[in-house]
């Protein structure tokens, strides 16, 4: 008995082609001079997958269709001298086609052996994406109507350096040996007919004839070698290497102020709010800031909700703002309902906009005309600070000046 097996009697139906795949795999591994613990056999769900207990290698038995992705993860974590082999059926390959293509594209270092017996065998003989046209299954007794996937071609197109198809008869161990020798992704499709469901429904078919009629051309196809995908560990810097915001100013704010800044995407709303938050910290306040914008982040409204507080902030929602600052029509449309519900506070509104229904005090200013659309949000916040003093305007100006935007805006004009 081979050193790769712990039990020679395989758990397959009499006459099943899976026997030959195991025997040829073992022969190929022996030819490569590998040792059992250099090999990780990852099996999918299906008749082929119950063979784990026969192997002396490492074995991993996963989910239906997902074994190639699982094996790719294993291969990423192992050194190149380890061989990762995937046993998968035509059904599993259909379910997990995306995983196969992705592994090929990445050139994951593994060898996929597709047991193509033309149907889902374990579950009763249903057709798969590799069932050839005309092949009869329990669900398609008149013959399957769709064409089958061409797996070798698909993986080659995706970037695999090696793909092969063999008729699963006799000794095809050398093809498997070549596949296993590849540093990177290799796929070998082995053609079989399920002896339980395929033969019963197609008693006159012979494997070689079926392969020919179905266009299942045997062969080996190779692409230029490229490095196998194997991520290496890198050194990274702490995410907390953040400069402290020095407290150089003080704020007269005693309690809490909830502020909403509403404008248009691409007009620096979030950036302006973040700079105000930094300035608030510099003024000794606690602050929270959250952004809201449509999924298409480049168009439509952009709103920032902020809470500035003398005391620590545990709840950072803004059910009733003290200040709403609107710099564009998008912002007004987004906040119109909230503005309508305001029973107090102040609404700062760009001069280009109609005054909405509200009980808040309304202050109109020409943010856009004075600073341009791109900087209207910044200028609007500066206006609010000048009029309220909640954060010293010079704290905000200094924060802006020291930010990347400080080089783009002539603050002396403000």
């Amino acid at each position: 008995m081979s050193r790769f097996l712990v039990k020679p009697e395989l758990p397959y139906c009499k006459g099943c082609g899976h026997h030959l795949i195991v025997r040829n795999t073992v022969k190929a591994l022996e030819a490569l001079g590998a040792s059992p613990l250099d090999v990780v056999l990852v099996t999918d769900i299906g008749c082929h997958g119950i063979v784990d207990g026969n192997f002396a290698t490492h074995t991993v038995h996963g989910l239906h269709g997902r074994s190639v992705a699982l094996a790719a993860g294993i291969a990423m974590g192992l050194p190149p001298e380890k061989k990762v082999i995937v046993y998968i059926g035509d059904g599993g390959a259909t379910i997990g086609l995306q995983h196969i293509l992705e592994a090929a594209r990445m050139n994951a270092d593994l060898t996929v052996v597709v047991h193509n017996n033309m149907l889902y065998g374990m579950t009763g003989g249903q057709p798969s994406g590799l069932t050839p046209t005309g092949f009869r299954t329990v669900l398609t007794p008149q013959g399957y109507s769709l064409p089958h996937h061409n797996l070798p071609r698909l993986v080659l197109d995706a970037g695999a350096p090696f793909a092969a198809r063999v008729v699963g008869l006799g000794d095809f161990s050398d093809v498997l040996r070549q596949a296993l020798a590849v540093q990177g992704f290799a796929l070998v499709e082995v053609l079989e007919i399920c002896v339980s469901y395929g033969v019963k429904m197609n008693p006159d078919l012979r494997l070689k004839e079926l392969a020919q009629e179905a266009g299942y051309e045997p062969g080996i196809w190779e692409s230029p070698a490229r490095p196998a995908f194997r991520p290496s560990r890198r050194e990274t810097a702490s995410l907390l290497d953040m400069p402290a915001v020095p407290q150089k100013y003080s704020s007269p704010l005693e309690g809490r102020m909830a502020l909403i800044l509403a404008g248009s995407a691409g007009e620096g709303v979030q950036q302006a709010a973040e700079l105000l938050a930094q300035a608030a910290i510099a003024a000794g306040l606690h602050v929270t800031k959250k952004g809201s914008y449509p999924v298409t982040v480049g168009v439509g409204f952009s709103t920032a909700e902020m809470v500035l507080s003398r005391d620590p902030i545990f709840y950072h929602g803004v059910p009733q703002p003290d200040a709403v600052v609107v710099t564009s029509a998008d912002g007004l449309a987004n906040q119109r309902e909230r503005i309508r519900r305001m029973t107090g506070g102040v609404l700062w509104l760009d001069a280009s906009l109609p005054v909405p229904e509200t009980s808040a005090e309304v202050r109109v200013a020409d943010f856009r005309g004075r600073a341009g659309a791109r900087n209207a949000a910044l200028y609007a916040l500066l206006t609010v600070l000048r009029e309220t003093g909640v954060v010293p305007p010079e704290a905000f100006l200094e924060t802006v000046r020291e930010s990347p935007i400080g080089r783009q805006v002539d603050l002396s004009e403000w």
Binding site: L78, P243, S292, Y315
Partner: protein, 372 residues
């Protein structure tokens, strides 16, 4: 930067950054990501910080890669939200059955289905309670504030290693995407998770727990012992079984190890004379804290329980609740999911719930229910 800082170091920071940094300092070494709002900010930070960061093409692949990396000895992390998490469920069950350590951060958003990607929620607790087929418990910890973003990832990772299993760290959109002023000097040093591998020369069976409940770990591909990992029902050596006694004992052990060893984490702030206990979790913890502070400042005694271990549900929560004639449970979902976990469909009359969807619960709503 080395923690602990001796001087105040105020910054504007989001929870995602703290979570990613805490994971790496705790020893997580591979992040497998997939873009999904509102977890993408964690993906962004993790991509800059983790020793290995991999963009997966889809959510199932992400979990499968994590399982493979975990089998090979890595400690992987991913973050997602419900639509992605839903696709990960079968693979999380696989990792549970294979006993592979990993951390999945679930950032809750408003559902059902795609719902509103940019609206927060606390709507996935009941989903997590039944996540593992057969009803087996999955450890779920929940972040309640920025400091938890720092403290809980290491505990969750240590639990994943100690119990050899996937662990879920639950949070929500407002927690990981809101920027807050925060003093980095408040952060304590994080010690890397303690991890051992089987190093005895004798025979090794992948799922043999010896005298304990958790089998010693050894990575697949090692040169000393054969590893057999199996998502199907299996015996202690990882050989597929139907329903043999040994396999059923192995399956029962999966529950026993969690119930015996999952850490119980919570914050209990009891006030003498309080007749009401406020119980909450996740983002509503902030509103509850403010409500409790306001009530106390008004002379209303009230106690507060913030649940950090959500699953398996610690019995101490019920024991604490039993001491109070009135209980207010506040959470941002439509069903009062924690209340249902505690009491089933028959919530006692002395237990009131405060719920909301599409918005955060306000402190005044909680306070109003306390004094009602």
């Amino acid at each position: 930067m080395t923690m602990t800082l001796s001087h105040s170091h105020p910054v504007l920071i989001d929870g995602s950054r703290l979570i990613a940094e805490a994971c790496v300092r705790a020893g997580a070494d591979a992040y497998v990501g997939y873009p999904i709002t509102p977890a993408s900010l964690i993906f962004f930070h993790a991509s800059r910080r983790f020793p290995i960061a991999l963009p997966a093409p889809d959510e199932i692949t992400a979990l499968q890669w994590m399982a493979g990396l975990s089998a090979a000895g890595y400690l992987p992390v991913s973050a997602t939200s419900f639509p992605g998490f839903a696709l990960m469920v079968e693979s999380i069950n696989m990792a549970y059955m294979m006993e592979l350590p990993m951390l999945v951060i679930l950032v809750q958003r408003l559902g059902p289905a795609t719902g509103t990607a940019t609206a927060g929620a606390q709507g996935d607790l009941l989903l997590l309670n039944g996540l593992i087929s057969g009803g087996y418990p999955l450890p779920v910890f929940c972040i309640s504030d920025l400091e938890d973003c720092w403290l809980l990832p290491p505990i969750a990772l240590q639990t994943a290693v100690d119990l050899r299993m996937p662990v879920v760290l639950l949070t929500s959109k407002e927690m990981v995407m809101t920027q807050e002023s925060f003093d980095l000097a408040r952060l304590s040093e994080i010690a890397p998770v303690h991890r051992t591998v089987y190093d005895n020369p004798g025979p090794y069976c992948t799922y043999d727990p010896g005298d304990g409940l958790v089998p010693p770990f050894l990575p697949v591909g090692n040169d000393r012992h054969q590893i057999r990992l199996n998502a199907s029902t299996h015996d202690r050596c990882g050989i597929i079984q139907h329903t043999s006694d040994e396999a059923m004992a192995n399956t029962r052990r999966l529950q026993a190890k969690v119930e015996a060893r999952a850490p119980v984490l919570y914050h209990l702030d009891e006030q003498e004379g309080a007749q009401t206990l406020v119980v909450t979790w996740d983002i509503t913890s902030g509103a509850a804290r403010e409500a409790v502070m306001t009530l106390r400042s008004q002379g209303v005694p009230v106690s507060l329980l913030i649940a950090r271990t959500l699953l398996p549900l610690p019995t101490v929560y019920l024991e604490t609740i039993d001491r109070y004639p009135r209980v207010v449970i506040a959470e941002e979902n439509h069903q009062a999911q924690l209340a249902h976990l505690l009491f089933g469909r028959r919530i006692p009359p002395h237990v009131r719930t405060v719920t909301a969807i599409g918005r955060m619960i306000r402190p005044d709503e909680i306070a109003r229910e306390v004094v009602r």
